[in-house]
């Protein structure tokens, strides 16, 4: 039962990864990378590593995405400025 869950989560992660690499829209690619991290934190719970799951959920999916978004915003501002 748990292996079915892992396989489904894994398929979602791999699909999100392929999409993130091939996605035309940069913003969606960033969000998809965040989704991968969020699903990874679920897998860490299954692997009995709650410490890692907490870190991954907070850093991988929240702060990394925010840092990416700030960088995109800065780049867009520079584009407008030129």
């Amino acid at each position: 039962m748990i292996s079915v869950f892992i396989i489904v989560t894994g398929m979602l992660m791999i699909a999100a990864g392929v999409l993130a690499v091939h996605q035309k829209h940069l913003l969606s690619a960033v969000i998809l990378a965040g989704v991968i991290s969020l699903l990874a934190s679920v897998l860490y719970i299954v692997l009995a590593a709650p410490d890692v799951a907490m870190t991954e959920a907070a850093i991988g999916s929240a702060l990394t995405t925010i840092v990416f978004l700030f960088a995109l915003k800065k780049i867009r501002e520079q584009d407008k400025h030129d």
Binding site: S3, I6, I7, T9, G10, M13, I14, G17, V18, A20, V21, L26, A29, V30, A33, I36, S37, A40, L43, Y44, V46, L47, A48, A49, P50, D51, V52, T55, E56, I59, G60, L63, T64, V67, F68, A71, L72, K74, I75, Q78, D79, D82
Partner: protein, 117 residues
């Protein structure tokens, strides 16, 4: 858990593929962060032992049978610090990318020819 290892493996390859084939620097950084997640998954899955629980002792897992009941704490500890480092390194790469864009007005890796030989 072999399935999780396979997922980590696939994510590493996808991330590397993205890093090697994409031209936009932000996309290369996204590929890096995907590969990063894959490597962490793989490391934690190596430390997992079937049917065991988290390495935290309480009433349910007492000290006497801890050795038979908990998973390996060392990969967890390593991955814990690796994730934090991963964020800091990603932020540093993005800061470089912002500065490169400021200098050249472009994020295409093919526009940066200074170090090409």
């Amino acid at each position: 858990m072999i399935y999780v290892s396979i997922i980590g493996f696939a994510l590493i390859i996808i991330g590397l593929y993205g890093m090697l084939t994409r031209r936009n620097i932000i996309r290369i950084i996204i590929g890096f962060s995907i590969a990063d997640t894959g490597i962490h998954l793989m490391m934690v899955s190596i430390g997992y032992l079937k049917g065991r629980t988290a390495p935290i002792l309480d009433k349910a897992v007492d000290q006497a049978d801890a050795l038979q009941r908990v998973v390996d704490p060392v990969p967890s500890a390593l991955v814990l610090t690796a994730i934090v480092i991963g964020l800091a390194v990603t932020a540093l790469m993005l800061a470089y990318a912002v500065r490169l864009h400021e200098a050249k007005g472009s994020l295409d890796i093919h526009d940066f020819k200074e170090l090409k030989w």
